[in-house]
Subunit: 223 residues, 8 copies
């Protein structure tokens, strides 16, 4: 694998407790194929993110067959996956249907690491009752990932109702003044509720990694 | 008054039903004095906005004495004011204490036009119970002016709970990612709640003028 | 309909007087089909917005046949529609031909709610006579929706000539310094005419919802 | 004068027909004094721009006495000035009182070059009658400098009513969405009226220089 | 032609001396066809701008045959065109080959109005000798349109060498820090050379209209 | 305390486990005095943030005497403070001396809640050895708050060396391209290291609140 | 070659020691063909940059055959190329695989000028050991080109470890807060390490030209 | 000196060949005093940058007396300074008088390191003859630092005339569209001249450090 242009950070899992994963957005089908063949040779399990349907179709049939692909989040599992080791610790809460791809990217990243997360979608605060109906369920989790675009008001409301660790993921949902996620990002950062933490726009993967770090801090997994 | 640099739009009240008012931010104390003396000669009542304490102190004592000044909103009434003609139609709802100057600028502008507005401050959604305690009171008004800075989540939550006409005023409260009110402005514009309308940042005066236009549309005052 | 990723806000019409509508931009043809079949089962009438021609063509033929589609505004009516209950209360005024899609999105949204709106297009202020020819007609409506891109000067001029409730919709028409509608948005917000209210860029749907809120405030419809 | 840090472009008048002038904003009182003493020695007439009152007060009394200072535009004439050679060719039209400093900077720059310009202030389009009252007078000038801040709608309206050369100067008047003049600048650049030309924000001096270039093109002065 | 969505400003030529032209970017082939048929019926000559090759190919063959199309500037003449009435008054100077489309849009707009302009391309200042070789030729024109992208340094250098009227057109040529033309625009506006005037990004048409206004001011054509 | 403009969220500690604190930046000395007198009456302990020296000096002498003020972080403790209940769980790591005010705001907020945090300042990565000297000490804490301005490279380097929960606080340190903290914020959000979480610019208080939420998730304190 | 729209700067190599190269992004296949035929006639060697595969395929077969194309960097050599004259002086260091296209554009530009550069890819600082493994090798070169996107932390770390001339190239790798390379650019400009120099985003060509200038300053090649 | 908040990077000179210097902008007079006393004790020579006159006046008289202060660049030398070891290798070229502070900051930083640089000010390209008069002198230096604000056209023109290493420093000189130096920065980055390298806005210190790195690469000083 170590061609001049690629040096895999194989020590990373060792060093910070986060597995290898493959961000496919900037890679060619040919490069992804090489990575998968290498992982197959090592019998390693991989998570692929941002793998769009076109690039998936360009992969050799045998590799496609070996992928467990999710067409909502554009993620895929390859090779052996961990069994679920932890459940009930992380809830993923999304404001609207359009936020589901990012929410599911977080869910799949956690699942790849052996964590089963609860998924609660379409509880945007413009219809406050939807959130209130689920708030007790949400409160049972020590870690919540809140996913929202546009005005991202869900984050502030949740921040006032929920006392645990709150990871906020702004999404690029919306148009015009939503500024491709910048408004949701800024609103989460400037929230009137204290102690919210924020990831990059659409970064469901990063939110899951942060949750993994926290689970390690809680002694529930090896960092 | 019609010096080469100033042409008062005396036909405006006639044309669009909104009285003269004096935006003091870009004017010298000398210019404001001239305007006040002229209004005094005409026995006209004036509203002054953005009159800071320093500029107020620079005015001649007799003019200062004739001003009804509010040091929260930096507005002043000069000369004869209208009696209250309409009440119970407009509520002004502000997220936090820091939004009070803008909320009160709206309240005073309405008062100058003979409208008594209800003022409900510090009902930001990070403490949702504060808003829920007042929501029935708010719902009794056909027009609501919502004032909020930072993430402006109040606007979206209110937009989902309240069915009447909702005028949103973003404020420049906050720092960093609040971007001097731009984030609140964008969040209100991109709100997930439908039918919200928005003014310029910190524009309590403009929100009140919009409410006056609506009261005219409702047949409650002469446009 | 309530799959894990979609929770329809069926209480919304009840709560804030605004019907269900389907924003199609972020949804797949398959998702839209599900929504339409569900509405058909409930014999509910729907408004679809941002439905582009490609996605329309991907819908099953029987659903396509059941849609009343407008290829200027990219909106569609599905199922039973309300009769016209109110007319002569809302005028939609657009600066140029390129603003027509947004103007018609507002018109169709109002029509879906039983409101017939007047539509006056191509009255941009660079040819001032075009607006002056129609100003008396415009003035007869208590509510005006002004749609304009580029410099959005129509809003300010109208704001000085018209005394009623004025809802301004900036459009993304223009290039370069028009900044995809940001300049029109800012110009409307910073207008020298008092009491203008503004929606998100290209948000004809939101402007119509705001007009519906106002008609409710006026007692003309149930909020 | 040619200290290591200052090389006066004495050939400029020769080369492009525009006189020396001194932009005082970034210069110390001591530097300005040196420049004035040098000009006095050469018996040269100078225009000083952006000379604020504080810096003026820091100059030696004899130099202060020799300055013809305008406290609206913060410009000063020093030494012998040209007589008026041309009149009736340039009109300066400003939207509001707050735009007067920029309008007068243009007027004074022209006066320094021997050109008497007409000055028409407070004709903003929110009160359209004010502009219509003066439009015939404006039309008599082959060159117009239009000065406006906030939404700068004056430029577009004038561009549709006036056929001559139109120089637009955006000002930093306004707050919030006016973005320190950026909105006025963009609105003028994106104007729906064809053939408008634009200068930097608050650049009355530059607008006057452009008018001087045009007068040269018209054969009315030596370039 | 006057369908509800289109009101041609037929009085414009009369009012400000600039002919009808058709900005095709936001119009469908069907709309353009209607406009051309209408012009044909009136035996009017038209200029079409921003007509890309795809849209051209979608027009009926007879209309395509009647168009004099330029595939560099994406402009077309339709119907009878004016003879050349004025020459030697306007030079168009472009920094690089990539700026040619904008330069030629200006040239063709002038030609449509009966003005023959000189065209001098690829004289960017990174190779200063190229500009110096042509500077005397440039100086013979009372009006110059300078077209440049990226850093737009051509404008400042020309502004120091040329005394006539200088219209600057920033282009969207470049990448990264060129910010789609914003850097060229800002550099021209902030130029150290006095009296430069600027149009919107890529607005060759607007620069030509400004030159036409100036030629009117010079008494060379009827405004 | 519940004047019309202030509604203290006294239920907050109950609801999300975070105590009352007073953000002084937008409040007058008079308002702060009122809040302190009220807290004194309730025998409550308060944290004050963003209390600049000038405002401190404007408070009555008895109140000043009762404040434990830190002139680096501009925070103050008022009234009874909690004893230290938890130590060794949170480290605060700052890139440079200029980041110390923000780092200490976080430290003091934690101290107010009974948490003793380690403080490690001036370990910016331009002198990598400084960080490497302390990395084992840092790794002993399950939660790290990383404070950095300018390019914020400390966050990425730490993210690759440290496996626990990492809260990143961008600061407004720097000039020009540092864009008042926006560059540090964006760099942290776009970090090549996975699982970093970010707060608003200069928000040491918010970072501490996030750490308190995490300590609650870890079962070390009552949420 | 000197058609009205193209004036090749053939004196450039003479004047500043940098050869002709062809930036293909804004040019048609037809224009590139003309340039290649002209170079063939002159027996000149050319470097082509930003030549995407589609445009390559549109060139005549004989020209395609004559191109030495690199599908990672989208560069091509045409005609006779210089032999390697200098080696071991320039190292190109890239943070990740996605930065390889820009790194290789720099490498190929240097190779075209007869310089063999070392290429070290995938040493991003989130896995610090990767860089530390190569640092001694890097230090042996007097000039280093550092290529990085997202947070660009590689530049600062390298700036603290390496004493030679350091040219930093930000890339547009990343999404959301990476802002198409603007964050990497700003982070490099605001770096805490002193003496870093920066090029435009993705400008591998420019970085190589800067290295060529430095090699000239070192007396290793003729400027 | 190693108080908890300050860890001096004393190994830096050793590691990358650049001496200690003190950036005073974010430090109190008390902190600067501590640093100076420490340097005095070590008999070390220091460079202080961004030391404004007010802060200078707040230092103890004995320390003030020991400072060699430059009130143009706001830099100071403290303690023993190196003799001049290298001359004639670096020229600093500034566009205008207002750029002198930044140019002199670079000059003084070089002087502190024992390098005498040539200083050529006020050669902005709006008066091209000024630059052409000095170009041969400039060309004699292998390294040039070009300092310019506003449109920064000097950089591009120089880049086309000068073949050596060119370090460009944008300055925050100008107003409006100059955007506090961002326009100059972008123009330099997007320059049409190849191989220009750029520092942060107003960063004369950084430009000098880059020149020192280059002199090291040339073997003229120890890195």
């Amino acid at each position: 694998m170590n061609t001049p242009d690629v040096v895999f950070d194989v020590k990373r899992a060792h060093r910070i407790g986060l597995d290898e994963s493959v961000f496919c957005a900037g890679k060619s089908a040919r490069q992804i194929e090489t990575i998968l063949r290498d992982a197959a040779a090592r019998e390693a399990g991989l998570l692929l993110t941002r793998l769009d349907a076109g690039k998936l179709a360009d992969l050799p049939a045998d590799l496609q067959a070996g992928l467990d692909y999710c067409d909502i989040s554009h993620t895929a599992f390859f090779g052996p996956q961990r069994p679920v080791a932890i459940a009930g610790k992380v809830a993923i809460v999304a404001a609207g249907t359009s936020d589901a791809p990012v929410a599911r990217e977080a869910e799949r990243t956690l699942r790849h690491a052996g964590i089963a997360a609860g998924l609660i979608v379409d509880v945007g605060v413009a219809g406050l009752w939807r959130l209130m109906d689920r708030i007790e369920e949400i409160r049972r989790h020590p870690i919540v990932i809140a996913v929202a675009g546009m005005d991202a008001a869900l984050a502030s409301v949740l921040g006032g109702l929920y006392a645990g660790s709150l990871i906020c993921v702004p999404t690029s949902v919306g148009y015009g003044a939503a500024e491709r996620g910048r408004t949701a990002l800024n609103a989460m950062l400037a929230s009137c509720a204290p102690g919210l933490l924020v990831t990059n726009i659409d970064n469901g993967y990063g939110a899951a990694c942060a949750a993994l770090r926290m689970l390690g801090s809680m002694g529930l997994r090896q960092a």
